[in-house]
Assembly symmetry: D2
Amino acid sequence: MNTQTLILIQCQDAVGLVAIISNVLAEQELNIVTMREFVDETNNKFFVRVVCAGELYNKEVLHQALTARLPANSQVMVNPDQNKRLVVLVTKEHHCLADILVRHFFKTMQAEVVAVIGNYDNLQEFTEKFGLPFHYISHENKSKQEFEQELADTVSSYSSDYIILAKFMRILSPDFVSKFKGKLINIHHSFLPAFIGANPYKQAHDRGVKIIGATAHFVTDDLDEGPIIVQNTKSIDHSYDVTKMRNAGTEIEKAVLSKAIQLLSEDRVMLHGNRTIVFK
Amino acid sequence: MNTQTLILIQCQDAVGLVAIISNVLAEQELNIVTMREFVDETNNKFFVRVVCAGELYNKEVLHQALTARLPANSQVMVNPDQNKRLVVLVTKEHHCLADILVRHFFKTMQAEVVAVIGNYDNLQEFTEKFGLPFHYISHENKSKQEFEQELADTVSSYSSDYIILAKFMRILSPDFVSKFKGKLINIHHSFLPAFIGANPYKQAHDRGVKIIGATAHFVTDDLDEGPIIVQNTKSIDHSYDVTKMRNAGTEIEKAVLSKAIQLLSEDRVMLHGNRTIVFK
Amino acid sequence: MNTQTLILIQCQDAVGLVAIISNVLAEQELNIVTMREFVDETNNKFFVRVVCAGELYNKEVLHQALTARLPANSQVMVNPDQNKRLVVLVTKEHHCLADILVRHFFKTMQAEVVAVIGNYDNLQEFTEKFGLPFHYISHENKSKQEFEQELADTVSSYSSDYIILAKFMRILSPDFVSKFKGKLINIHHSFLPAFIGANPYKQAHDRGVKIIGATAHFVTDDLDEGPIIVQNTKSIDHSYDVTKMRNAGTEIEKAVLSKAIQLLSEDRVMLHGNRTIVFK
Amino acid sequence: MNTQTLILIQCQDAVGLVAIISNVLAEQELNIVTMREFVDETNNKFFVRVVCAGELYNKEVLHQALTARLPANSQVMVNPDQNKRLVVLVTKEHHCLADILVRHFFKTMQAEVVAVIGNYDNLQEFTEKFGLPFHYISHENKSKQEFEQELADTVSSYSSDYIILAKFMRILSPDFVSKFKGKLINIHHSFLPAFIGANPYKQAHDRGVKIIGATAHFVTDDLDEGPIIVQNTKSIDHSYDVTKMRNAGTEIEKAVLSKAIQLLSEDRVMLHGNRTIVFK
């Protein structure tokens, strides 16, 4: 049997933390398969992701054994749920959604899509091919507050781990964001912090850049300012007009967003202020 | 004999431009080896770089033949000087300078360094190993105006095609910039337009980016806003502190700046407003 | 109206070819929008791809006008069919097929899939979601000859421009290959010519490589030896076992194959012996 | 004071290894700053690289404490020498040597060059600029055995950690290789295992590849078959003839070789059969 136990810890740094953790694990007859740690020396913080082999008799016992010996206020997670549930929000563009739905359908990510919500209905047919519910919630003829209330209600009707903004082109209010704190993931179609805001490819063309990029990040109150999870770039040249940039960009966007979902689903991402620790 | 003729043209777009140019060349018994063109349809501008084989009897005759048949106000260059002369400005960091001097010494670029100027003297010994003059012009105990006057005088004492700011860390005034318009090339240690200004690696670390970059660009009045020639990026992760970012950055910076110098030396870069056309 | 005319020429190199071509086009009142050429000086061959704006009155007239003035035996194509028809062959892996079907469904490539053929039936359900015929042709309990005859008959029952081997894991005989000469496109899961043949990821792991890759190429008689169209690579490290390599590989494979299909569909690829000229 | 202790261990895998190691370190009042491990589950082998903060009282005591509790035949290294000594072998090409000498001169690698040996003398002047001895050992008018004897004597006259073949174009005999087992590092100008042997760029051009690469590897008896340390690649197109490939290749070659030297100098590379574990 190939049982694995996953442990995530975030705490004050201190002497002997690895010894403490590895001793607790040895006492529980768990063998460390991989251990990735990071010490932020400036802020005196310790992060670790451990994968163990061996049967875990009792999750609570392990949790308590670790918490008892680690510094006060340590955050310890033992075996977080493995099959993350995703709600995907879209507008009109299909490329990120399609990439996610294909992975969902063929079960190549440790996550499943439970619903898709669109403020247009043009991706409904495609979504339903995969047997998934599509909620069409138009923003038209509604106040922003009404629109977001409807959105929030529908999102909340599903228990979900992450809400994926897969080219969802409406700016969400701080109210909405705070309701789903730490669960909102966005794909921004530029190499942040370059070209924040609307029309990044137009901005990029005007600036004459020789590289375009995409950024998957947690959403916080400040537009396009949340902790970055994955970024990637692609070289372009003067022959790229805005449309060609946008088309080339779709390839980066979908790859970056899917990579972020994979990392989140495998519990490889830890939040650290406005940054992320990503244990690949 | 392997004579080649290089022709660069920038003009209003019009029907039949390639026919006009290729006819003139055929009449002069010049055979097109490579022709790269770009039409900016928005601004109705045509750019072309042509390399021909065959002996060029008279540069002036060819220039006139082209100008006579092209739209009014066309910019035509026939066989620009091939061995560009570079003055290199440095502060304390050696990596870009060293890369350039090695290429100079082994003659692997179509350009030669004629002098190095530093506002510190710590790169003097290294420069002089290569038999090149090093001018130490400190900015200390001088007004900015005095400093720049001295700098400008020294630069001007050499006839040069480009002035390479190879990690020159003083901001130059609009006055200085206008004096050497179109000839100043800077390497900025970020993927512009992200992290304009001072301490880009500090800014990048605070923002938690997953990619760093460098940008070689023409210098204009607006700090870090001139036309971009070359950019490149490199993936990093959370383990990079500012120092490690800076060290990783040096590798990109020197590669990007040397690439820009190569492209400029081979007359592959054409200015087009705040953008560049780069015929690789 | 935004009419464009596409012209592809492959011929002996000679003085004045660009003049000849651009004159013919000017006479036909066609304005060159982009022209990309390549001269193979070793083999004295000239290749060009021209896009013109302006209404084309008569395709045959243009073809004759060009052929009349170009060297003997020139290959000239005027406006090849724009919407290429693809037959896709698969075995069990879905990633390349899914990527192609999504592009087909959303019409983001200048090509359409007309049928999918599998030697297993596990991709039938997915294919049929997109309203496309899936032909299940098992190789079991048949001679290779019988299997290939069935395959060839089915392929031939569709008029198609390219037959895409999208992770089709049966080796095709020279007979089959010669029947569809120049139309068979394969994705090989390595950076050719490294790791020719079976189990390239196993071979790559044994060799301890630090980079994996994928190659899209025309199929010729020699296994994995046909002209290469697109290649790409990705850095890996010692922690990649064969399974992780294969998973990482799927991302490169699908991107490389789709890029090759895009280039072929836009008539940007010209065959030149065992190499390709790709005018991006 | 910023004392760090570096520990490298390679042993049979077993339950509780991390606990054992971290306990020993805690007992010695050493605090783990970074720990990178790798378990080869197929071969049941454990590799770890640990950096600790805290003053190390006695290297031998720590070594014994670890060895006593680890599985039999464990290889343990405590604080290997930090400033590696390099002898560099060259033929005619300068690019790798120059890159290394610049890093040597500005002390940006944890290694110093102690001598350069060339079978031609054209890099002597450049080497001597940096105050380093250059030994010109021609291979002409000598048997291979005589040449290698002279080479070996000169190499051996320096105590060195690594012998860097920086574009040294003579094939070394198994005898020579066995004399310096585990210390010979080569840069091969292709993405191994593609294009083993002579003229890889010629081979690459004939094959029509769209990517070129370089490989830094340990030298073993089989030509170009030793454990790979670093590889990198660069996209090219049909316009690259052999010379242009070779020039583009020099940029990859020097970057890859210098990266390998950096990793070796920082004791980040562990040999594991014909593979390497590289803890970046």
